[in-house]
């Protein structure tokens, strides 16, 4: 497949679908090109031939065996030239180099001629069978993103086997690290609950990959996986893409108020400077739509429009720019900037009819990086590639009540920065000023704007009084050395130093002063400057079809957090250190590639757990908890056995079996005698075992397919007394009570079965009859993603919510399934190519239950519970509602006396209000979401 002899096989890049492979150094920005140069007549090796990757500043000389290896070739498409004195050069076009993969590219030079010949060759590496790799990589390219019904990198990565949203192989959210162009980027403050904060526009991607096992010792800060993102450099000529998509033409509830504009352009600026820029802006009137059943009560406004929630709009804008500057023959400088803003109005049922008091949030992220790369000349197989990266990452999050709800100007776009009440106090971390009620925050009152009028359930006049702000910054310096010694040995050395700054502020019930009858807790704030450092060494040895990869990584972090309690108690927080070895062996046995790998991985805990605050734990219920500045690393050990084979030239089959042990996960444990007080500790352990089967047929003959099945069991082991108190007691009721030392229960993302089927089809351009000079069906493309997954676990509690029923996560949600579809028709405009497309998610409008109430295991409460809630509310407010009151509803005044009074008139209103309030909106996943798009490629 990868040799010149197979060049006539034209496989479009989109045929790659989600490519799964192993890589010698997974999660790199570059791959390698390796092979031999031989005399085409005599078949003898050509020693000293030069192999040049055009446009990548990379080259190598062949050794005495005619072999060569070019390392750290940036992911992308290249022309590769081989030449030698006395031989005619050979040029290969369209050599696709994926990150972390090795392209086998053999040349046969005609040493009796001197004319340069260009070959139209499209080369893709056989990254399925490549025996020199040990990690498990599931890759998606920019073409895949464009030709599949996915929009973001996260959606694309979620197609991978073993992924449950942003959880990978049973781990919890936040156990992954993002690698953008070889640079680690992680929100170390609250990755497990807050996300990264920056989004790379998909149009600037070369590829994105999920690495779930055996990733290189170069990368840390993750114990479940890496998201490796490689952006492209500006091209040799100007080109780009402009796309606009929305759901405006669709009727009724199909219109979710979506608008998305994408513009990407890249090309040469001056000299050897190339530019890449992109903007990706998305606005949605209903940014988090739900597929809940429409209310049966015709007086409920949503019975007419069941899918579009108020105060639920959002806007995201991502801007990126990149300069690639080639300096001399061996140096390249890349300057990269990324700015992301995500503003959301957050719907809350409580404020459904006074939505201006519902909360909002703003998340801003900025990443600026510089990357200097030196690529030494390869001679006789030896090479040196040096990468020095310096990056500044700045993430700012705030949530609270808006000072003013901005007006939407176009779709979901406001074009204005959200400002929040008390924002200045939060940014100043002024806990003294925050002891008083925060000016501008009013306490909520029972709303009089509901359809039901009665004073019950819904609130207005003021919000929750929540104000949360955090700011995370880091300056990362990262040095990587890639030392090649012949074709058989590679050394990777390097390290990084990260200086961070963490600032947090939280205030609850801000409309009240601290203390008082309501026992309003004081504001919490923290500010500290952790320092992290790491060093690694890795070596790969290759002998024909056998490869060993050995690595060792050292990590250290010093939170330097000096909490008031630590100071008070005289605690000295020591820096934490860990060493993580990694090992992989791969070979080819009977035509199949077999890989065995083992590795230990570690990550520093989210810094949010080091400081006092109220946060939700992914396993526990949320409480006010004390931070623990002495928290140490969370760790995992992973074992994997995988087999990769090609049943036919265009199909592949991969089977992965893995075992992962999670150790020292952060959890909350009781703190003192106060039942509502706890402290974080490295107290949770988990075991994940699973298997993945991935079958793939490349897009040949007009269709391709990929089927991935995942079987998994992920359990947690807790020594947390909060859990243990709920467990079996020996000698119940006696004085000599004994409780078990530990319990085991499913992890939150323990999805037992998952199937993802991706189907793609394409009609040849010349196919079909001509109508009015146009091919009616020629060039049409379609892709469908069919997903089915068994339910995730959840915990049940008693009705008051303070006692777990059974073990944690011992109950299961129902199965889920979706069908997504993308249909695309190519079109041309003024000589430019483009397309129009229709993209539908959850095409069959399956109503998936994604959450249930913990007290009854159902999405909502039943009729009796509604009646009970209504009766309680009525008893609290039996007052008649006079005509002049804003609460008066004429249709409820049955006797027409100008007053809604008595149980006959009032109680039905309370029942309707209760039914309305307890609608389980967010228990259901998204409905059918469609969009129509037009794009132009220029």
């Amino acid at each position: 497949m990868s040799g010149a002899g197979t060049g006539t096989v034209r496989l479009r890049a989109l045929a790659a679908l989600v490519l799964c492979a192993a890589a010698p150094l997974a999660a790199q920005t570059g791959g390698a090109i390796s092979g031999t140069v031989r005399d085409s007549l005599r078949g003898t090796p050509v020693h000293g031939a030069e192999v040049i990757v055009v446009g990548a500043q990379r080259s190598a000389l062949t050794d005495t065996a005619g072999g060569y290896r070019i390392r750290e070739v940036r992911s992308g498409r290249y022309r590769v030239l081989a030449r030698a004195i006395g031989c005619g050069p050979i040029l290969h076009d369209n050599v696709v180099v994926p990150a972390g993969a090795t392209v086998l590219l053999n040349f046969r030079l005609d040493c009796s001629a001197v004319e340069v010949r260009g070959l139209e060759v499209r080369t893709t590496p056989d990254i399925v069978l490549d025996p020199t790799v040990t990690a498990t990589v599931q890759r998606i390219t920019a073409d895949d993103l464009r030709h599949l019904p996915v929009t973001t990198i996260e959606e694309a990565v979620a197609l991978s086997a073993g992924a449950v949203g942003e959880s990978y192989r049973g781990g919890r959210v936040g156990q992954q690290s993002f690698i953008i162009d070889g640079l680690g980027v992680k929100n170390q403050l609250d990755q497990s609950t807050g996300g990264l904060g920056v989004r790379v526009p998909p149009d600037v991607l070369t590829e994105a990959a999920l690495v779930t096992n055996g990733f290189s010792a170069r990368y840390g800060q993750a114990i479940s996986g890496l998201i490796n993102v490689v952006t492209k450099d500006g091209g040799e000529r100007w080109d780009g893409r402009l796309a606009y998509e929305n759901d405006r033409p669709f009727p009724g509830s199909w219109d979710m108020g979506l608008d998305r504009l994408v513009l990407e352009a890249d090309g040469p600026l001056v000299g050897r400077v190339r530019f890449l820029g992109a903007v990706d802006a998305t606005g949605r009137l209903d940014a988090d739509p739900v597929n809940a059943p429409p209310p049966a009560d015709t007086l409920d406004p949503r019975s007419r429009r069941p899918s579009l929630l108020p105060h639920n709009s959002g806007e995201q804008v991502d801007l990126t720019a990149k300069l690639t500057i080639a300096i001399g023959a061996h140096h390249t400088l890349r300057l990269f900037g990324l700015h992301s803003v995500d503003q959301r109005l957050l719907f809350e049922p409580l404020f459904k009819y006074d939505d201006r008091f519902a909360p909002a949030r703003r998340l801003r992220g900025d990443l600026v990086s510089g990357h200097w790369q030196y690529a030494g000349v390869s001679g006789a197989g030896a090479s040196l590639v040096t990468d020095l990266r310096v990056a500044y990452f700045d993430r700012d999050f705030i949530r609270g009540s808006l000072a003013e709800v901005p007006t939407r100007r176009f779709g979901g776009f406001t074009g204005r920065t959200f400002h929040f009440i008390g924002e200045d106090i939060a940014r100043a971390q002024d806990t003294a000023a925050a002891r008083a009620a925060i000016p501008g925050l009013d306490p909520p009152q029972l709303s009089d704007r509901t359809p039901w009028g009665v004073p019950a359930f819904f609130e207005g006049g003021g919000g929750r009084g929540e104000l949360a702000w955090n700011h995370f910054r880091e300056l990362r310096t990262q040095l990587d050395l890639d030392v090649g010694s012949g074709r058989e040995v590679d050394f990777y050395l390097g390290g990084e130093v990260i200086r961070q700054r963490v600032e947090t502020f939280q205030r609850a019930l801000g409309y009240q002063p601290v203390g008082g009858k309501a026992a309003v807790p004081p504001a919490t704030a923290s500010s500290f400057t952790p320092v992290s450092a790491a060093a690694y060494g890795e070596m790969q040895l290759r002998w024909e079809d056998l490869a060993f990869t050995m690595g060792l990584r050292y990590d250290r972090f010093d939170s330097r957090e000096e909490s008031a309690r630590a100071t008070l108690e005289g605690l000295t927080v020591q820096p934490k250190q860990t060493v993580s070895p990694r090992l992989g062996v791969s070979s080819v046995l009977k035509g199949a590639t077999v890989v065995v790998s083992w590795g230990r991985f570690s990550q520093a805990p989210d810094f949010q757990y080091l400081v006092d605050a109220a946060f939700d734990d992914t396993v526990r219920t949320g409480r006010f908890r004390a931070g623990n500045p002495a928290l140490g690393f969370e760790r995992s050990s992973q074992y994997e056995f995988s087999v990769r084979a090609r049943p036919t030239p265009i199909t592949s089959l991969r089977v992965n079996a893995y075992v992962k042990h999670l150790e020292g996960l952060v959890a909350s444990v009781p703190f003192g005698l106060n039942p509502d007080s706890s402290i974080f500790g490295n107290t949770d352990y988990g075991n994940v075992q699973g298997g993945e089967i991935i079958f793939e047929r490349e897009l040949v003959g007009g269709w391709g397919a990929r089927i991935a099945y995942t079987l998994q069991s992920a359990t947690a082991t807790a020594t947390n007394a909060f859990q243990l108190f709920q467990r079996i007691r020996i000698a119940p009721g006696g004085q000599d009570t004994i409780r078990p030392a530990r319990v085991e229960f499913p992890l939150d993302y323990d999805r037992r079965h998952g199937v993802t089927v991706i189907l793609q089809g394409r009609v040849a351009d010349s196919a079909g009859p001509r109508l009015l000079g146009l091919r009616a069906i020629g060039g049409w493309e379609a892709a469908a993603i069919v997903r089915w997954a068994s339910g995730l676990p959840y915990s049940r509690t008693n009705p008051t919510g303070d006692t777990l029923l059974g073990l944690p996560n011992s109950w299961r949600l129902p199965d889920q399934s979706t069908v997504d579809l993308l249909v695309r028709r190519p079109i041309s405009l003024l000589g430019l190519s483009g397309s129009v497309y229709f993209d539908a998610r959850n095409l069959l409008n399956t109503r998936n239950i994604i959450a249930v109430r913990r007290d009854n295991g159902q999405p909502g409460i039943d009729g009796a519970a509604v009646d009970s809630a209504a009766a309680i509310a009525y008893r609290a407010h039996p007052e008649p509602i006079p005509y002049e009151s804003p609460r008066y509803r004429s249709w409820a005044d049955l006797n027409g006396d100008g007053s809604v009074s008595g149980p006959d008139e009032l109680l039905p209103l309370y029942v309707a209000a209760a039914r309305d309030y307890y609608q389980p909106l967010f228990a259901y996943g998204p409905p059918r979401v469609v969009r129509f798009g037009v794009e132009v490629i220029f």
């Binding site: 606009y244 929305n246 759901d247 405006r248 033409p249 009724g252 219109d255 108020g257 009137l285 209903d286 406004p301 949503r302 429009r305 579009l308 929630l309 108020p310 639920n312 709009s313 459904k352 009620a437 009013d442 306490p443 009152q445 704007r449 359809p451 009028g453 004073p455 006049g461 003021g462 409309y511 009240q512 002063p513 008082g516 009858k517 009015l772 000079g773 146009l774 079109i827 041309s828 405009l829 003024l830 000589g831 129009v836 407010h877 007052e879 008649p880 509602i881 006079p882 005509y883 002049e884 009151s885 804003p886 609460r887 008066y888 509803r889 100008g898 007053s899 129509f932 037009v934 132009v936």
Partner: protein
Amino acid sequence: MRRAGVATLLAMLGTLVACRHGEVLRVSDYGTDSPFFPGEPTRLTLSLANDRDPAWLPDGSGILYTRERPDRADKDWCFAVMPPRGGRITREICNDAAPAADSTDTFERASVSSDGRLAYLRSSGPTVGWPNLQFDAHRYRELAAAPLAAPLEAQVIVSLPATLPGGRLILGASQIRWLDSISLVYRGDFDGWVCLVPGPNCAQTHVITGLGLVYQTLGAAGSKLQLPGTDFASSVAVGAGYIYYTLGGDSRVYARSTTTGVTTTIWDFGAAGIARDVQVLGRKLIAVVGGNVSFTFIAALGYPVQVDNGGRIHVVDLLTGTDVVLSAGPRLFRHLALAPSGASLVAESFSGSATDLYLLGVP
């Protein structure tokens, strides 16, 4: 091919951009500017709780009054604004500050100046539940002024109780009238619980009675003085260089020149009874006269109190001397407020044990 492609693409783009998104859920407007009982007099409020102290917005665009809110957990008394002909309340002003959540806060006796300043009496006391509010346990009570647009951002004019320059102690204030943008005149009151009929099982009765008219200037150097000759005043009105007032137990209406201080009697209702709640606009003089009203000396206080449960509304043409009784039938009114146009007035009237507001046309 190219033309077709261009046309198709342009059509697509045009369709995409030109279409409007559907609207998100919007709250219905349940309001109306029509009264429930449109007859004469028009009953404006139907609440079983108290609605009282009506006042007009200066431009006549609405009626501002005090509305008791037994549906609130804190049982506050709030200001409400309703359309000039009645209907649904369009604005409500309550003390929603968190510290006030555990107390009953009352906003009363509203008066809006022509430049949009609101003077009112505000007080706070422990919440004891409707309808048994206790008014003599205030944490604070004060006369305050604020922009009508931001009524909670008030400047305190007088903290009560206060002692007048003559030495009389006042516990409350009512009949608040703006003289100009920097001065007020109001009735200083006894506002409390008292035993009207002494005896071993005497029931305490809530009594509000005037003790005198107070002239009050605002600002840092603000001062107050009792207008001479206004002991036990029962009502006051201002207009055209005069302060009009009535006295307890008296059927006459007096006019005091704001420039000369000379007081004259401009009308005497004579046998019709005790006059109060006087309003004067041009040649029209309107007052509540007679009815269920008493003026009795109370030994426990050492002075007389006027207990007013309503009377007849008289409209007098000061030029012709005609006196027309507006109300017919047994309904009695009090605390009236004449519209700026002079064409209508709003007054309190008892419905059971609580008061409601009525709108009456003025000839």
